[in-house]
């Protein structure tokens, strides 16, 4: 019995028009095993998971469930067999309560389910209030509901797609505890991730994917981070050089007393935000997404304008620019790289050279209202060369580029204008490891030239890697800044859960 895998994939292949997403993939998951599927973004992990869960049909290959070959034709079929899935970007319904959400997948009346939910929350340490609406919940709470919903379906196999990307560090430890408990009851778990330390801490076996193929099946406990990286990427990655702080450290951008109440009553408000960006420094804003980071970057970039009656001030080199549009702010040297590449950072169906012109038209690209096409094209080409963007040249459309390459282009487009201040929201989100390292190095280089930089990131490791000072955002408030050398990931994690004192104490102790 123990020799029959719960799930066995053989030669699973799926081709999309431009890319072979899965190329003859084999995978075995035993009952009670926590099996990692490791790979960069674009390695084919998501496609593989979708095939197992029945939402994508493979072109070739077989899926066996407990020794029987099955045709996984829909998520319904997968669920009937006993496969549950916890999605990376949750599949909850915002306007419904926790119990209602769960009742859509688990039979029983709301009242019965509420009882079962309370019992299961206690058993697995997953704190969930059945009657509250998802809309008002933090991402951590949402994930707990998603996991509970999965558990209450009594699955034999749980697929977790990048479950830790939305959790503060303390939440991750708790999640791992839950997963181990589930595995000890004989449930198989497929754990998708690109974070090596997590896989080493949690998983038994790791299937490593690169470019749609399985490049190794290894014992996660035995391998070290270095050997896993090499398997995953195919080469070693140099850590970015992080020289001591340059520039004179004078305040370039100063925001004080920013308040903002969004129209959407469920979006977080900004509460009395004060922030100073200094020349030659990278400031990182840590925090679980949805705590007001989006409103803050919009306010700084000019997508939210300050009205005359608004209290706070935003000043660049001492001159107020709270009422300036994003375009006017760019002209004055304040540049912004938004989180969404397609649609906000670049127009998907436009060419790279057209996209370059969108934010750089002040740099002598326009003459009497006419765009200088040759110059714009040259500028796009320069950006492509400078950032090593892999693409079909300046005439390729933005949507034809991979996420990492488009992000390099967008960052490069702003860098070409020598910003005084650069605000980048999730600059390496969903970007492959190589491109992420390149982008981080470019940001550090810009800092060394004396620019003031603000990075908003959910990846706490990224913030510790490249930032000089850290501030944490929680429920619309911003913690005071701390020097990166004087704090620890644990303290920042506590602050991400709302305990700003954890940071402040350290700040005093080291002054």
């Amino acid at each position: 019995m123990a020799d029959t895998p719960l799930l066995r994939l053989r030669g699973v292949t799926k081709a999309y028009p431009a890319v072979l997403a899965n190329d003859a993939v084999d995978l075995d998951v035993m009952p009670g095993e926590i099996h990692a599927v490791l790979g960069e973004n674009g390695a084919g992990k998501s496609t593989l998971v979708k095939i197992i869960y029945g939402s994508v049909r493979p072109d070739a290959g077989t899926v066996e469930w407990r020794g029987q070959q099955v045709d996984m034709q829909s998520p319904l079929k997968a669920r009937d067999l006993g496969i549950g899935m916890v999605f990376q970007h949750f599949s909850l319904f915002e306007t419904l309560t926790a119990a209602e959400n769960i009742s859509l997948a688990v039979p029983g009346s709301i009242a019965e389910l509420s009882e079962r939910i309370r019992a299961a929350s206690a058993q697995f340490g997953l704190d969930v209030e059945p009657d509250s609406r998802v809309q008002a919940m933090t991402v951590g709470e949402r994930q707990r509901i998603e996991i509970l919903r999965c558990i209450l379906q009594e699955p034999k196999l749980i697929i977790m797609d990048e479950p830790t990307s939305v959790l503060p560090p303390q939440g991750i430890a708790k999640l791992f505890e839950t997963l181990r408990r589930l595995a000890s009851e004989g449930i198989g778990i497929i754990f998708i991730s690109h974070k090596l330390d997590e896989i080493k801490a949690l998983c038994d076996t790791a299937t490593v994917m690169r470019g749609g193929r399985v490049v190794g099946v290894v014992d996660a406990k035995v391998e070290d981070a270095r050997s896993l990286t090499r398997l995953m990427i195919g080469r070693d990655i140099a850590a970015p050089s992080h020289a001591a702080q340059r520039g004179d450290g004078h305040a370039v951008l100063e925001a004080a007393g920013l308040n903002y109440t969004p129209l959407d009553p469920f979006a977080p408000a900004l509460k009395d935000i004060s922030l100073t960006l200094r020349s030659g420094q990278i400031t990182g804003i840590a925090g679980v997404s949805g705590n007001g980071q989006d409103a803050l970057t919009r306010a700084l970039a000019g997508e939210i304008l300050q009205g005359p009656q608004d209290a706070g001030t935003i000043a660049l080199d001492g001159v107020a620019l709270g009422a300036d549009t994003p375009d006017q702010r760019r002209e004055k040297g304040l540049h912004f790289v938004p989180e969404e590449r397609l649609g906000r950072g670049a127009v998907p169906i436009h060419t790279l050279s057209e996209n370059a012109g969108l934010t750089t038209h002040h740099a002598g690209l326009v003459n009497w209202g006419m765009v200088k096409l040759g110059k714009r094209r040259a500028l796009a080409q320069e950006t492509i060369d400078a950032m090593d963007v892999r693409c079909g040249g300046p005439d390729a459309t933005a949507q034809s580029l991979s996420g990492g390459n488009l992000q390099k282009f967008i960052v490069g487009r702003e860098l070409a204008l020598r910003p005084k201040v650069l605000i980048a929201s999730q600059p390496t989100w969903g970007v492959d490891v190589g491109a992420a390292a390149a982008i981080r190095q470019k940001l550090i280089d810009l800092r060394d030239e004396g620019a003031a930089i603000l990075i908003v990131s959910e990846e706490i490791e990224e913030i510790f890697e490249i930032c000089d000072t850290i501030q944490v955002m929680f429920r619309g408030r911003l913690s005071p800044p701390v020097q990166v050398q004087t704090t620890s990931i644990d303290d920042v994690g506590l602050a991400m859960a709302g305990d700003f004192d954890a940071l402040a104490l350290k700040e005093c102790a080291h002054v």
């Binding site: 319904f93 915002e94 306007t95 009742s103 997948a105």
Partner: protein, 305 residues
């Protein structure tokens, strides 16, 4: 007092067609499908109901025929938007125009003819109570059925598992699909229900409210239904309130004309539309409330495989 009786009893009758069509549209929209073809479906229902009643002499046959044809028309919309992923707005408009054409074709030989209107129910002594009797107990059966429909729709949408499934699919068909819910089937059912109700609403116009067939007799009521659903923020009691408000305004218009007040008739005829929309817009300003009740995927092309 006579005027009051006239307005209250008239309002119930005037709102009935709207109630049927609006409850149907509300259910369809709650599942995430915008149906802009309501006007055409009501017109087709009106013509079909009238013809079927004329031929068979049975009101039941008349309303059933109208419901079936309205449902069939809406199924075209369902197939176009759910199977072929057509744009909901374009498909709805096209089917609305198709419905208007179909109605004039069906009713061509009956243009201007009349039938005997749907009789009032006999409640015995209740109907004889002064004031209350003529207001509430001298109506035809469809008026009472429309009130029952309000309660049933409200109960199903807010209190049952089916309603939960419909609301979930309306918020995110992708998530619903991933949970194994039958998105297309449920949506098709909701759209079909909407079409059938629009057909019945139309038939009520031609066989009970004004028992005659004339081309164009729906006169924009289908569009009012669409507006009622949106401005009523997809909440059953508010949509019903809007329908009765519209009904009472159109009655008020008649009474004022009866009083001989010197107000231009054009101004009077737009009043029900204007007042209804303003009232509903004013009571639905709470954004939090709207977000909780509006189907987030409304009008979006289905993205599931």
């Amino acid at each position: 007092m006579d005027v009051l009786i006239f307005i209250v009893s008239g309002t119930l009758a005037a709102a009935t067609a709207l109630i049927f069509a609006a409850m149907g549209e509300l259910v369809a929209e709650k599942s995430g499908v915008l149906n802009l073809g309501i006007e055409g479906m009501m017109a087709t229902g009106a013509a079909m109901g009238f013809v079927a009643l004329s031929l068979s002499g049975s009101y039941t046959v008349g309303f059933l025929a109208a419901a079936v044809l309205g449902c069939l028309l809406s199924m075209i919309h369902a197939v176009l938007t759910l199977v072929f992923r057509a744009d909901q707005t374009a498909s709805g408009l096209a089917i609305g125009i198709l419905g208007l054409g179909l109605s004039s074709a069906i009713g061509k030989r009956y243009e201007g003819r009349t039938v005997e209107g749907l009789p009032e129910l006999d409640f015995g002594p209740l109907s004889d109570i002064p004031i209350i009797g003529p207001m509430f107990f001298q109506q035809d059966i469809m008026v009472y059925l429309s009130i029952v429909l309000i309660f049933v729709t409200w109960y199903v949408v807010t209190r049952t598992k089916l309603g939960l499934v419909i609301r979930a699919i309306g918020e995110s068909p992708e998530n619903a699909h991933a949970l194994g819910l039958k998105v297309r089937l449920v949506r098709a059912g909701c759209v079909g229900f909407g079409g059938a109700m629009a057909g019945i609403g139309g038939a009520y116009m031609s066989t009970a409210y004004t028992p005659l067939w004339a081309e164009g007799m729906i006169a924009g009521r289908g569009w009012i239904v669409v507006a009622l659903t949106v401005f009523g923020t997809w909440i059953v009691p508010r949509v019903a309130f809007g329908a009765y408000l519209f009904g009472s305004m159109s009655l008020l218009e008649l009474s004022i004309q009866a009083f001989g007040w010197n107000i231009p008739s054009q101004a009077m005829s737009v009043m029900p539309y204007v007042v209804t929309i303003i009232m509903l817009a004013v009571i639905s300003r709470n954004l939090a409330f709207i977000r909780l009740n509006s189907p987030a995927s409304l009008g979006a092309v289905l993205k599931i495989s």
